[in-house]
């Protein structure tokens, strides 16, 4: 309560200007004056007056959308925004998050000047401490990434830490990362400043107005129902923070926003005897799970405990946020950690333990974007306790998205459409956020899987594979095999297996890869998204020809690999389409495309009752038979010749396998290796699997997992959608011109952009790098996001990497750009530019020489194929 009062006084005193500017605000403190009536109509209605809502309003107004109404059920910035710790930190491992935080920092810095509202912005810098070598590695990786993004940052020794902060005990430290530009703000005031600026630009702000639900007609937002009346609108933005889930479910057409609140505690103290300097850096001690900042001469310290307390699972009244209890026993580990880090604080007097709920999402990344089910329904929420850091940037991207149709950066990692209804169970969310919140402080290592909320979607073969030693990972709720641990062999415990170096499964995957190369392996790939599109007449072909860049008017039984592009020629999806008949098509896309691709097709296919699309993902189990002997296994099982003469590659046929009929067999393997994909109606799955395994025995068949698949694909230079490919990458930039038929005699989405690129050249180029002086056993392994240096200059980042067992080298894939040496302007990237350069890849500060290649090693292919036959498919995001 005390803090609240304090904050009230602060912002009241701070912004008399804003109060006069905000004509519509109801007087809250003094006498109850009649609130200004709501407008009957607006272009955009934003629900939520916290940092995200005000930021979206601010940026919409900046972009020229001024017919905007912002509704807040209580008072502006009175929820989590008020209670949060006000730390702006740019040290983020995910590139898009880093960009958002960097933008926010720059925005807040000039906000006071722009609006006249005191934001309390102080550039203090931040110090992230490492107690272990592994932690230091992860900090070094972030530092590399910050440096190439133009954010000053350095790795410092414990002694330098002591010089930066007078109170830190450095005895257990191995190093630290110092980011001098990080800042502190008064979070509520930042939000109010954004609101002030927005309202000056014409945005109307109404407090004490709560949204009851959103009206939808024909899949579009038409208006908002509030406790003070109805507002007609085209766009609705859900910025309701921890209430976003409930608000999403309140309407007739539910919008799933998977997030869940957890209690979050931080401590406030009275000032120190010698008060801390105003600009003393914020300390983050992830190994101790705490952060510590200066607060009015004392300290503010909170953290992310191992045993979080989720709340509001059943949905609660928002008023309770002010009545949350302090829980000292729960805070004890964090307090111990604080006193270990700063032993001199023992005598410091406690002021308060603040309980401030924060909302968390199932994958620790925030949620933004348009709902896949309701057009015009946008969301920005689930900040995972970094609302202040992300708020500015996230608001900007969402505003751009609404105004331009797409944001200026690739925000797929944050897109609402990465989730579907399957992540909206309250139980799932409650369990998952209990894992996510501690993860904020946990070491983030490659190939890490969530342990909660698992075994939701499984293949019918799950038990069979599990019994054979399968180790599982999860993608979009679907359990997929990573690799099979042979009997008698044991791997490390989950906690101990965390490493930035060579993992313990190295040899296991190596032998699976070997088997794929020499004999035959089975990989269960049932998680792939599968759609069937059919029509009574030509509609299906016509529509697909318009949506896809490759020519789909191929003979029945052919499989075409193609991109689903946006207006700019960027990949919205990357898929294989089989023509089952003249009028029906079978489309296979990556697992996490299920929601996004569906929404894209729904939005772009014409309203035509003769054209149907169906999601048949659940109807088929997919088995991938990879290897030179796959032909033998399948021909023995089907009594049909399967040799390339009879069954050429990129071919699809319904046939019988064993006793089962109606199996769709395709001569693709998604790896470049010879073999087949079998799409099996699920009731036959076990039968076909058993038959394949029995028959395959004499050919040395074995199970394999996705790690083997990934190694095979990356060494063949196959790009993955979601990892390497995104909405900002065109086929021209990744060497896939052959999948674009500009002259197919029909207009298609993105055609113009591609034509232009074809004439003018590309500004980035997908390149494969072979690490030269990298010791697999001793050196840090590449992951993704490592900076690429050409002749010592930064030219781009890697997007994925894997160890190639064939080359016995690490292979990294990434984009190379060409920046002008003087102006930094982006220039066209030519083949010569790529080929004439000395490359280095920076892994956690250590640079390794790399050889760049624009085409895969042809000698790797067992059979030489025509170049246009080479399937370049990639469905798998790591």
């Amino acid at each position: 309560m005390f803090l609240r009062l304090l904050a009230d006084v602060r912002w009241r005193g701070a912004d008399p200007k804003w109060r006069s500017a905000a004509r519509c605000r109801s007087a809250s403190g003094t006498a109850e004056t009649q609130p200004v009536p709501l407008p009957a109509e607006a272009r955009v209605v934003i629900c939520g007056g916290g940092i995200t809502g005000t930021s979206v309003a601010y940026h919409l107004a900046k972009l020229g959308w001024k017919d905007v109404v912002l509704l807040e059920q209580g008072r502006l910035a009175a929820g989590t925004t008020r209670f949060c710790a006000g730390i702006v930190s740019t040290a983020r491992p995910v590139s898009i998050e880093l960009k958002m935080a960097d933008y926010s920092n720059k925005l807040y810095q000039q906000l006071e000047q722009e609006t006249g509202v005191q934001t309390g912005y102080v550039k203090t810098g931040s110090v992230s401490l490492a107690q272990t070598q592994d932690r230091l590695i992860s900090l070094k990786r972030i530092a590399s990434s910050l440096n190439v993004s133009g954010i000053p940052c350095e790795i410092i020794s414990p002694k330098q830490v002591a010089q930066l902060h007078p109170l830190i005990n450095i005895h257990d430290l191995v190093g630290a990362m110092y980011v001098p530009e990080d800042a502190l703000v008064l979070s509520a005031n930042v939000s109010l400043a954004l609101a002030t600026a927005a309202s000056r630009n014409g945005v109307q702000i109404h407090e004490r107005t709560s949204v009851s639900h959103v009206s939808v007609q024909k899949g579009r937002v038409t208006g908002v129902e509030t406790d003070r009346g109805h507002i007609k609108c085209q766009y609705f933005v859900n910025c309701a923070g921890q209430w976003a889930y409930e608000l999403g479910h309140s309407g007739e057409e539910p919008v799933n926003i998977p997030l869940h609140a957890c209690e979050h505690f931080y401590l406030l103290t009275h000032p120190l005897k010698e008060p801390l300097a105003n600009n003393v850096p914020t300390v983050v001690d992830p190994d101790g799970r705490i952060y510590i900042r200066n607060w009015q001469g004392g300290i503010l310290s909170g953290g992310f405990e191992k045993n979080p307390k989720p709340l509001f699972t059943e949905g609660r009244n928002q008023l309770e946020i002010h009545n949350l209890q302090e829980d000292w026993d729960h805070f004890e580990p964090l307090l111990s950690s604080l006193l270990r880090r700063m032993p001199n604080l023992e005598a410091l007097q406690i002021m308060q333990l603040v309980n401030c709920p924060e909302s968390f999402t199932p994958d620790m990344r925030c949620i933004m974007g348009e709902s896949p089910t309701v057009r015009g329904y946008f969301v920005l929420a689930g900040m995972n306790s970094a609302g202040i850091s992300y708020g500015g940037g996230a608001g900007k991207y969402l505003a751009e998205w609404m105004v331009n149709g797409y944001p200026s950066e690739n925000v797929w990692p944050l897109d609402l459409k990465r989730f579907g209804t399957l992540q909206s169970s309250r139980t799932f969310l409650r369990h998952r956020v209990m894992e996510v919140m501690p993860l904020i402080c946990d070491l983030k290592v490659p190939r890490w899987d969530f342990q909660t909320g698992r075994q939701l979607r499984t293949s019918p073969l799950y038990d069979r594979l599990d019994a054979q030693g399968a180790r599982w990972m999860e993608k979009h709720g679907f359990e997929r095999v990573k690799y099979f641990v042979p009997p008698g062999k044991d791997l490390l415990d989950l906690d101990q297996s965390k490493t930035f170096y060579k993992p313990d499964w190295f040899d296991i995957v190596g032998s699976e890869v070997k088997c794929c190369k020499e004999a035959v392996c089975v990989i269960d790939m049932s998680s792939f998204t599968k759609f069937e599109i059919s029509s009574t007449g030509d509609q299906a072909l016509q529509s697909l020809q318009y949506l896809f860049s490759n020519d789909l008017d191929v003979p029945v039984g052919h499989v075409v690999h193609t991109g689903m592009l946006n207006e700019n020629g960027g990949y919205e999806n990357d898929c294989s389409i089989a023509r089952l008949s003249k009028r029906s098509f079978f489309m296979i896309s990556p697992t996490d495309q299920q929601v996004h691709c569906w929404a894209w097709l729904k939005n772009h296919l014409p309203e035509d009752s003769n054209l149907t699309i169906e999601d048949v993902t659940w109807k088929y189990t997919a088995l991938n038979l990879i290897g030179p002997r796959a032909v033998d296994v399948l021909s023995e099982l089907s009594y049909a010749p399967m040799t390339p003469e009879h069954f050429p590659s990129f071919f699809c046929k319904e046939m019988s396998v064993g006793y089962a009929n109606g199996i769709r067999v395709m001569s693709i393997t998604h790896t470049g290796e010879p073999g087949f994909m079998l799409y099996i109606p699920i009731e036959y799955a076990l039968h076909v699997y058993n038959e394949v395994m029995n028959m395959g025995q004499k050919y040395g068949i074995r199970n394999a997992g996705y790690y083997a698949l990934r190694s095979l694909r990356i060494e063949k230079f196959f790009a993955f959608w979601g990892q390497d490919l995104d909405a900002f990458t065109t086929p021209m930039e990744c060497g896939r011109e052959f999948q674009v038929k500009l002259e197919k005699g029909m207009e298609f989405v993105g055609q113009e952009a591609l034509l232009e690129q074809k004439q003018n050249g590309v500004y980035k180029r997908f390149t494969m790098f072979i690490l030269e002086d990298h010791d697999t056993d001793m050196d840090l392994w590449p992951w993704w996001g490592e900076p690429i240096f050409r002749n010592g200059r930064y030219v781009g980042k890697t997007t994925s990497s894997a160890y190639s067992y064939t080359l016995e080298r690490h292979v990294c894939l990434g984009f190379v750009q060409h920046f002008d040496e003087k102006t930094g302007e982006e220039l066209v990237v030519t083949t010569d530019f790529i080929n004439q350069g000395e490359y280095e890849i920076d892994i956690a500060g250590q640079r390794f020489q790399a050889k760049a290649k624009l085409y895969p090693f042809s000698s790797l292919f067992a059979q030489r194929r025509r170049k246009d036959e080479v399937e370049l498919s990639g469905y798998q995001r790591e």
Partner: protein, 570 residues
């Protein structure tokens, strides 16, 4: 066996320096604190190996200074005053220990402390729990169940425990027995006493029925249902002998049939006295079997205290002989815990007891009766089973010892006659019995040997068990409010609360939990793992210097049933 018992501090009758060594026990603490750094690291070393090995290590390390010492050690006098030697050895030679430290840290640093699982396996080795079975989902017994446990300090342990349900009468019997000068007497009492009590409680008809069954060789009605830990054994060899003595007892009871209903208090006193009498008699008569003969003598020449509770409905009787103790845990209305004593210690601290002893003997002996808080300057408990050295006349003792087996004859202890031994008996086994009507607020009963009570105050015992049984989740949350609290203070408070919770969660047995506190409590009253680990890793030879055998039974009452009794519903 008897030789080993010389180390018993309760009864130190060895001639020579060992006797004086006893008061050294009071200098234990300074030893612990002064020289702790060194022994801490040495103890585990000693633990699993022979003293001589250590000596040789020492020799090896410090040849010139210690060769004389090592020869001294090697001759096996170590046991007589080890602490003195160690202490003398530690202080002047600090650098020597630093050397040992460095050496051991370098090689196997983990050896010095027991890990928490190791500590737990030691603490839980003897734990036992019994839940009174429920009938039709209803438990009509006033006892919910009990937890018991023992932690040895002597090797072998001299404490015993027993628990049994009376089958021919209602009620449950629970007892702890603290042996001294060996475990023979405690063992015998733990096996036999409950039968004597049960028989004393049986109505005339049942006694007749049993006697007839024995007479005609029919199956006997079971009298007791024992609740035993696998480590609690009964001696098979003596069962026939014991049975005959018991049978004689019930035959006498049948002959004496007074026709009155049995008073529990009376029955308890009679049973105690009768058993002690039988022990004494068996030793005097002897047995043709040489093994048994030696056994009965060992039983008679060693001693044991007994603290026995009989619970029947709301009637709780505690019969106590010696310095074990029974304590009732009472939950006050405000939820706090208090302790009510249900026994009196029979030792020098009990003035009434000293007075009793003095009135039983001529005035001329007044000064020699109690010396150094011990009976005749030797025995700590003022009442006990066995201990015929304090009961028989000198002539009887001499006759029995001389006619006894050689082992007995060779023993210094048995031949030794207490000083100022003029008007035996000086010792009795007659118990003091306290009757208590259980109330709903009486939540549990703790029976424990003095090993517990000398380390913990009964108030703390009541609180720890009470909080354990009710679960610490009833802990009030802390709120700072307007108080001035520093981070350090808050941290201290929180760690203490957490320690409580974590130690509660570690134990499934209230007695184990109590032992953990008794052994591991630091000055703040919380369990200190390091201390616990040190205390439990003491070598056998030294363990007895730092702690006594501990035996605990915690009986939990069923407040609902007791409430129903009170309201006359049962």
């Amino acid at each position: 066996m008897l030789a080993a018992s010389c180390c018993d501090r309760r009864m130190c009758v060895c001639p020579g320096p060992r006797r004086i060594a006893i008061p050294v026990r009071s200098s234990r603490l300074p030893l612990l604190s002064d020289a702790m750094p060194a022994p801490t690291h040495l103890f585990p070393l000693i633990r699993n190996c022979e003293i001589s090995r250590i000596c040789s290590t020492m020799c090896y390390c410090h040849h010139k200074h210690l060769c004389c010492l090592s020869s001294h050690f090697a001759h096996g006098h170590f046991r007589y005053a080890p602490q003195k030697k160690f202490a003398a050895l530690y202080r002047p030679k600090e650098n020597f220990y630093q050397f040992i430290h460095a050496r051991d840290y370098a090689s196997t640093p983990q050896r010095f402390y027991l890990t928490p699982p190791q500590v737990n396996s030691i603490l839980k080795a003897n734990e036992y729990s019994f839940k009174v079975p429920e009938f039709d989902g209803k438990n009509v017994s006033s006892v919910l169940g009990f937890d018991s446990n023992q932690l040895p300090a002597n090797a072998p342990i001299e404490d015993r425990r027993s628990a049994a349900t009376c089958l021919q009468t209602r009620g449950m019997l629970l007892g702890v027995f603290d042996g001294h000068a060996g475990c023979a007497c405690a063992q015998a009492v733990s096996e036999r006493l409950f039968y004597y009590i049960a028989v004393s409680l049986l109505p005339h008809e049942t006694l007749l029925e049993i006697e007839n069954a024995v007479e005609s060789g029919r199956a006997l009605l079971p009298i007791l249902q024992w609740h035993k830990h696998p480590n609690d054994y009964f001696s098979k060899e003596a069962s026939k002998l014991y049975f005959n003595s018991l049978r004689t007892y019930w035959q006498e009871l049948i002959d004496l049939n007074s026709g009155e209903t049995t008073d529990v208090k009376e029955a308890l006193i009679n049973a105690f006295k009768r058993l002690d009498n039988d022990i004494s008699l068996e030793a005097q008569v002897g047995d043709p079997n040489s093994f048994l003969n030696y056994l009965v003598l060992r039983v008679a020449f060693s001693g044991a205290t007994a603290c026995v509770a009989h619970v029947d409905g709301v009637d709780l009787h505690v019969a106590n002989t010696g310095d074990s103790r029974a304590m009732l845990g009472v939950q006050e209305e405000d939820g706090s815990w208090s302790a009510v004593n249900l026994s009196y210690d029979h030792n020098a601290q009990n003035e009434r007891e000293v007075e009793r002893v003095k009135t039983e003997h001529p005035k001329s002996e007044e000064k020699s009766l109690v010396k150094q808080d011990r009976l005749l300057g030797l025995l700590m408990p003022f009442r006990a089973f066995g201990d015929v050295k304090f009961k028989w006349s000198i002539e009887l003792q001499k006759r029995v010892v001389e006619s006894g087996p050689d082992q007995l004859n060779d023993n210094e202890y048995t031949k030794f006659i207490p000083p100022n031994y003029h008007t035996p008996p000086y010792l009795t086994a007659e118990p003091e019995v306290i009757h208590h009507k259980l109330r709903p607020q009486d939540k549990f009963l703790v029976l424990a040997t003095d090993g517990l009570w000398e380390t913990m105050h009964r108030q703390d015992v009541a609180r720890i068990v009470g909080e354990y049984l009710t679960g610490v989740h009833h802990q009030q949350p802390i709120a700072v409010g307007g108080y001035k609290v520093t981070l350090g203070q808050m941290h201290g408070l929180l760690t203490e609360r957490r320690a409580k919770i974590s130690s509660v969660f570690e134990d499934q047995n209230a007695a184990t939990h109590l032992i953990r506190h008794a052994v591991g409590n630091n000055e703040f009253g919380t369990v200190d793992h390091e201390r616990l680990s040190k205390m439990l890793s003491l070598p056998e030879e030294l363990a007895r210097m730092y702690r006594d055998d501990i035996t605990i039974i915690v009986v939990q009452f069923n407040s609902h049933v007791i409430g129903a009794y009170q309201n006359g519903e049962l």
